[in-house]
């Protein structure tokens, strides 16, 4: 083991070692200034080749389509290259050569600016994600806050996009996404507040170190917060159970209805980038980031991290392929009446536990006790609260009534299951 955790160039845990080696070798015969120009280029290429390209292009475009194809008992794209590996490139080329149509009555400036505004925050989000011990672009002290703030910026761009088209379906999409983001931001932030309380930090790198120190993932300590985070973030990302803003079967494509060519392509690509950023965030905060119970001594942590991101993103793909879509008012109702009280309940429990932990001088092992308590509360709270706000699944019939003879209206049996209006 010791030979691996050196800072020699072959210690792959930190790619900076390799870069440093290359740079110092270059520094021997190149002018000093040139080396510092080459350094960021190499860093950028590494980051792009290792993370952005495979994740966004291959997981987001090809992997998603292939996996959904599997769920839907079809093959998915497999014609361009072996297993369809060239499909993302073919898609991008097609989008670039396609006419970017602008409707006559559209607000041209806003329509052009919106995709650009949509891209910028997606890039900014990755700045605070820790890929490894030293691999973090900007270790901002309040990086949790930074992430939440930046990730709610794209809603502005989507509203601009929807408004600029002068199309009623687009406007529907724009109004829906603004309403939905406002509703879901509240339980999302409250769920993350519970995490910050427990870990005592709002720095993402420190959160990873906390989980590494206690050998526990926060998804075990606060399952309720994770559930709320997952639902809220899939709502904000417009992914299927909650994709009311671009609901294909209802409002055509929502705010994307009139976009075509690369303007649409930017929205599509960046949607994936946001989903991956959210997966990165979830992997960092809930699944121990780049640590994996000591395995990070042996395997480069960025590989562990990327594996976790892929696993979490697959969860998004799975829900997208499986679930129907909620109506917009049902979705708002769900956020305010169901998720918000649960998030508040979560904060209450976590705050109590945290106070006991620090004030009463409990040992470090108590976090495991808290985890068991929280899991029990998680299992109990969800059905109890659902029943409290009027959820009665047994009143929904699952089979039709059967009669043998044709005749007129068959009245309902007085005590038969007959769902009332929910």
């Amino acid at each position: 083991m010791p030979f691996l955790i050196t800072d020699h160039w072959y210690d792959l845990r930190d790619l900076a070692n390799l870069c440093n080696q290359v740079l110092s070798w270059l520094g021997d015969f190149l002018p000093h200034g040139l080396v510092y120009i080459i350094a960021p280029v190499i860093g950028f290429l590494f980051a792009f080749m290792l993370f952005t390209l495979p994740t966004q292009l291959y997981l987001g475009v090809l992997g998603e389509r292939r996996l959904i194809g599997r769920v839907q008992s079809r093959l998915g794209p497999n014609r361009t290259g072996k297993f369809g590996v060239l499909q993302p490139i073919a898609d991008a080329l097609k989008l670039l050569t396609k006419e970017a149509f602008t409707p006559t009555k559209a607000d041209r400036v806003v329509m052009y600016v919106a995709p650009i505004l949509f891209v910028a925050p997606a890039v900014m989000l990755f700045a605070v994600i820790p890929f490894s011990h030293g691999m973090i672009i900007a270790n901002v002290s309040a990086s949790l806050l930074y992430f939440v703030a930046v990730s709610s910026l794209p809603v502005l761009a989507t509203f601009m996009a929807g408004w600029s088209h002068n199309n009623k379906y687009s406007l529907f999409g724009a109004i829906r996404i603004v309403a939905m983001t406002i509703s879901f931001e509240v339980p999302l932030v409250l769920a993350l507040l519970g995490l910050a309380l427990m870990m005592g930090t709002i720095n993402l790198q420190d959160m990873v170190e906390f989980q590494r120190h206690f050998h526990i993932w926060m998804v075990v300590v606060e399952p309720l917060a994770f559930g709320i985070y997952f639902i809220c973030v899939s709502a904000e990302l417009n992914r299927t159970p909650t994709d009311i803003a671009e609901a294909e079967s209802e409002i055509v494509a929502g705010y994307l209805t009139e976009y075509s060519g690369m303007k649409w392509g930017l929205f599509y690509g960046m949607d994936i980038a946001y989903a991956i950023a959210a997966s990165c965030f979830a992997a960092t905060v809930f699944f121990g980031g780049w640590s994996f119970f000591g395995l990070d001594h042996w395997v480069p942590p960025w590989i562990i991290f990327i594996a976790k991101v892929y696993a979490f993103y697959s969860l998004f793909i799975w829900t997208r392929a499986t679930l129907p879509r909620l109506r917009s008012d049902q979705l708002m109702e769900f956020a305010w009446k169901y998720l918000l009280p649960l998030a508040l309940f979560n904060i209450f429990i976590v705050a109590t536990e945290r106070m006991l932990w620090s004030k009463a001088d409990f040992g470090r092992g108590w976090i495991y006790v808290f985890a068991v308590i929280n899991i029990a509360l998680f299992v109990a709270a969800i059905p109890i609260w659902a029943r409290f706000i009027g959820y009665r699944p047994e009143r929904t019939p699952t089979r039709a009534r059967l009669v043998r003879e044709a005749g007129g209206y068959v009245p309902l049996a007085p005590n038969a299951a007959q769902g009332d209006q929910r």
Partner: protein, 369 residues
């Protein structure tokens, strides 16, 4: 502070919309997302089949009926052939009767597969149930191809019987396979959708039609049965020997979209039952009566109806002793089922209107003819 005011505006759902099931248009007046008025506009797919049929002989008209409801061509063929047989007084051999029953029930299975899949698609389940429907239907399409040579527009029924005798052995094997695989597939669909909380929330209490309203709008098929009215042509006015088969009529509870959906699922289960009985009792003998190619029925009129996948499918034929019908009229179930669309959609949101339209299960080829 003045209250927030809103004014209604018109939004066209269709004719080019992902979920109008073809070129159909709802001109909806919405206030926010709530629909205050809905007007259905149809006729984009009108091909004047009824007029064309007056220029062609009785046998030549059978392919036209394929093109009306293209998802259940067998039932369409059957309705038309029954009408002409009634007009000309042609008897049908027992084997042809049983084959007709098997075919029209297989067609109901295939059509309901698509209805269920498309309906789930309208609620937003991203293509998955639709793709599963395509997969399941494939077995039935294979049987049709085996018997008639075509998969979708079969043109299989003939006046006085069916076009070809089904291939011995392989036909029975294939139908047994359908009987074996379909009940688990239907249960699978029920597990994925009926017990799905989001699906139930989207469909329960949406597009409610009371039994009175449904009868007054002369709805038929799963739409009527979903409202709790036990009415099925196969029971009420049996044709092709349906009276000898043991099956039940599924009916719904309160007439919402969810009820129509579970009625369809249950009808699929009943269809499997009927197919099994018909196949067990499949008699031998001729598969068609010899009918002159240029049939000239005696002057008169006839109306025959079958229980198609979407409801009462009627054919009205008048003969003036010529080789072609004097008048040929179709009573398309999905056109008449659409009459209650306004009652079901007004008051709901745009998203509800799509779900309601999906639960009506329209085929625009049949609506416009």
């Amino acid at each position: 502070m003045s209250p927030v005011t809103s004014e209604p505006f018109v939004i066209n759902i269709g004719p080019q919309h992902p979920s109008t099931h073809g070129v159909f248009r709802i001109k909806a007046t919405v206030d926010g997302e709530r629909i205050v008025d809905a007007e259905s506009v149809m006729g984009y797919l009108h091909r004047s089949i009824e007029k064309l049929a007056e220029e062609r002989t009785y046998t030549q008209n059978i392919p036209f009926t394929d093109r009306t409801d293209y998802l259940s061509s067998m039932a369409n063929n059957l309705g038309y052939c029954l009408a002409v047989e009634q007009l000309a007084g042609i008897g049908v051999p027992a084997r042809a009767q049983a084959i007709r029953v098997i075919m029209s029930e297989l067609q109901r299975l295939a059509s309901h597969c698509m209805a269920v899949g498309a309906f789930a698609n309208d609620t937003g389940a991203w293509q998955t149930p639709m793709m599963w429907a395509f997969r399941d239907r494939e077995k039935i399409m294979d049987i049709f191809e085996m018997c008639s040579g075509a998969r979708l527009t079969c043109n299989y029924m003939r006046i006085g019987g069916v076009a070809f005798d089904p291939p011995a052995g392989t036909f029975e094997e294939a139908v047994r396979e359908v009987i074996r695989i379909f009940p688990p597939l239907i249960d699978d669909r029920a597990d994925v959708l009926v017990e799905n909380e989001i699906f139930v929330a989207r469909t329960r209490g949406i597009g409610v039609l009371t039994a009175e309203m449904a009868i007054n709008s002369s709805l038929t098929g799963p739409m009527l049965r979903g409202s709790g009215v036990a009415w099925d042509i196969r029971k009420a006015d049996p044709y092709c020997g349906y009276e000898q088969y043991d099956f039940e009529i599924p009916i719904g509870y309160q007439g919402d979209c969810f009820d129509r959906f579970i009625v369809r699922l249950e009808e699929m289960r009943q269809s499997v039952k009927i197919i099994e009985q018909a196949l067990d009792g499949l008699p031998g003998g001729p598969y068609k009566t010899e009918v002159p190619l240029s049939l000239r029925p005696p002057a008169g009129e006839a109306y025959a109806r079958v229980e198609g996948a979407r409801g009462e499918l009627g054919y009205y034929v008048i003969s003036d002793e010529g080789p072609a019908p004097y008048r040929f009229h179709i009573r398309p179930p999905s056109f008449i089922n659409l009459t209650a669309l306004k009652e079901m959609t007004v008051g709901g949101t745009v998203a509800d209107a799509i779900v309601v339209l999906g639960s009506v299960d329209i085929i625009v080829g049949e609506v416009d003819r």
